[in-house]
Symmetry: C2
């Protein structure tokens, strides 16, 4: 069997299994998820032994320490992953929920019922724990899943999927609900992305290059996000202590992630009060500031910001700073330079808060909280399979519910079209 | 300016106008929609004069009578189109609606607020009234629209869009909220489909060939449906009179549309009672029946059905008929041969109804009503911009609400990530 046929066969088996996944009872899905968690814990020595092969191979290929760290199934990572599956088990089941139902003048009731999407492809890189998270989330939403992890994690991913398939068989359930692509070659991704009749959705997770490759080659709908150029705007009516606290947290708490602040916008009426204090606090945490001319007038130690700085996703202890003369200017700046990820306003003014909520159309729009709060777990979605900055289907953090769609149901008593 | 630049410029203007469209008040959108309706009525002689040019050109090119009929802006079509815009004006405004809001343990409130998609491209063929419908629906949902009608209707479409732009200007609103692609050449569609950073969604309406062309060439998300192979299943517990009435309406009331029944499935326990009566009634309406062997045993006048008949979308007075031994067999038939459009069960049995509703995952699943009820107007969505048989974003008839998405909003009082 050549590569293309092997991918096709995996997709066919997943497509068949999707019908079984859709009809699993809530109780049985819960039991399988708990069994999956237990399997990870009970078989941790097997998992770590397989994981060691990947780590050794990675070191041999000269992977960076950071990459090896991401690759490692430590005791802690295994425990957290198992715990994650137990949390997913406890979520309410989205499948079959009637989202809304209304009655028409002819007496017919029309509603929308939540159903699984079908087959979901997840394309990701080095973290083998994504294998377990994605399998758990897709199962909870009644979908089959095709996983394509990175070549660095191939032995770890195979071991995890083998454990899960054993759990499925042990519960008398179709083991093809969870599938690993038979090879990690990039060509296999290309074949997979053409199977629009067998796969309903593809979610790429990883670096921008991988995501662009998937988006450009897919006939299947793709949900993705490229980057997070997140803004925090300190309004003229901001509480100054809160503004300092939120800006500091947004930048410093974990600068390497997509919901960290990259540009700080400050209303000119409070810039002289706010910026010197803020700059000192950020500098003490090692943050490099790059400001507009007016910012630099107030904080001369800032480096000058160039046009590129407004577009930059630093993912680092660097921050662009700009003084604006109005909330409209702040909103216009965000519309021009933002990436539709997350924007926050700090204000005590009701109208300013409402205007910001209404006119900024990024996927998360926040009043008086850190940009770092933009997250599926923090929002209470339970878990997050990805973040979308494109508006179709899902926009923002995607939880279990976003792995479903709704169909129309009609309850009639003999209605016909006249 | 070459073709590619002209398309790019139209898309850029629409992209800028989308921000204006998103912030229009409910009242102003209502007024503009009513003004658009009035413009169609007041300028009907101008519209008909432009329309005559298209009709004359069409006749010259040898268009079929049916095509000329679709192309014609008769008094009745103009009145209905104006009425449609008035109906859209009266809908509730989806923009800004908070779909749900919940409180997190840290006191932060998290919600989902409905917002416009941005710029929507509509690619369609000969009916100039689609120009007005699509413009109205997109405006109501706060979007800008780029319309690409067929070359047969070019003068009619230009006239309608010119009237609408005048209405926008008269209301002091950006006229680029509604745009016609500057040329009807197919190459222009190709250029448009690559502008993923300027256009958020493309909806092709028309023949399967056009739709496949769009789906295969688009970098922008596409919502579409290819065909409707709709089933009606007469359960063993069906009321026989209702079954005859619903099957007749599903097939005969308007056979040329996508929600007409194409295959009738009958439980073997009632086939001998039901099929002879049904066949006679359908034959009297000129319907040709193509049955499985068991159907033909009961109604010998039926032609034999081949495997292709189960896949066929006749759009005509032809019906495939199959006897099944169980509801499971009916559901399996639908899963194998259906097109995810609309399926109906006729039954008085509660469990059968629930099973059908739960296990059939077509975009509309109906109990005890005609398949012809699957329609945005009939469902009460107000109007329908298309039907989706792919599950991402929208599934089934798409109304105004499906031209929006939701963003996350967060109302905090100083929350940070620890």
């Amino acid at each position: 069997m050549n590569l293309q046929e092997a991918v096709l066969q995996t997709a066919r088996l997943a497509h068949q299994a999707a019908r079984d996944a859709a009809s699993l009872s809530m109780k049985l899905k819960e039991k399988i998820l708990l069994d999956m968690a237990r399997a990870l814990r009970d078989q941790r020595s097997y998992l770590q032994q397989e994981n060691q092969k990947d780590i050794a191979a990675g070191r041999g290929k000269g992977l960076s320490t950071a990459m090896v760290d991401r690759l490692t199934l430590s005791e802690k990572v295994i425990d957290q992953t198992a715990l994650g599956l137990e949390e997913i088990a406890a979520f309410s089941d989205p499948v079959g929920e009637i989202v809304r139902i209304w009655t028409r003048p002819n007496g017919m009731r029309v509603g929308r019922m939540r159903i699984p999407l079908g087959v979901i492809g997840i394309i990701y890189e080095a973290r083998p724990n994504v294998t377990a998270d994605a399998a758990g989330l897709c199962l909870k939403a009644g979908n089959a899943v095709i996983l394509r992890g990175g070549s660095e994690a191939v032995n770890s991913n195979k071991a995890i999927v083998a454990l899960f398939k054993e759990v499925f068989r042990g519960n008398g359930v179709n083991e093809n609900i969870v599938n690993l692509l038979p090879t990690t070659e990039r060509e296999a991704i290309l074949h997979m992305l053409k199977l629009e009749n067998l796969i309903d959705l593809v979610i790429p997770r990883g670096g921008e290059e991988l995501i662009r490759f998937v988006a450009q080659n897919s006939l299947i709908p793709v949900i993705k996000h490229y980057k997070g150029v997140c803004h925090l705007y300190v309004d003229e009516a901001a509480d100054m202590d809160m503004a300092v606290k939120l800006a500091f947290n947004s930048k410093v708490q974990r600068p390497g992630v997509c919901n960290a602040m990259e540009t700080l916008l400050v209303h000119s009426a409070v810039a002289d009060l706010f910026l010197p204090v803020m700059a000192e606090k950020l500098a003490s945490a090692g943050v490099e500031l790059r400001g507009c001319e007016r910012s630099r007038g107030l904080v001369p130690s800032m480096k000058p910001a160039s046009e590129e700085d407004w577009y930059a996703e630093y993912l680092d202890l660097i921050l662009a700073v700009r003084v604006v003369d109005s909330i409209d200017q702040a909103i216009a700046h965000i519309a021009t330079y933002g990436s539709l990820h997350t924007e926050s306003i700090v204000t005590t003014n009701y109208d300013a808060a409402q205007k910001f909520l209404r006119e900024v159309n990024s996927s998360s729009v926040i009043v008086n909280a850190s940009t770092r709060m933009s997250d599926g777990y923090v929002y209470g979605l339970g878990a997050e399979i990805g973040i979308s900055t494109t508006k179709l289907h899902a926009y923002g953090p995607m939880g279990v519910e976003d792995l479903t769609t709704t169909k129309f149901i009609v309850l009639g008593d003999g209605q016909i079209r006249e």
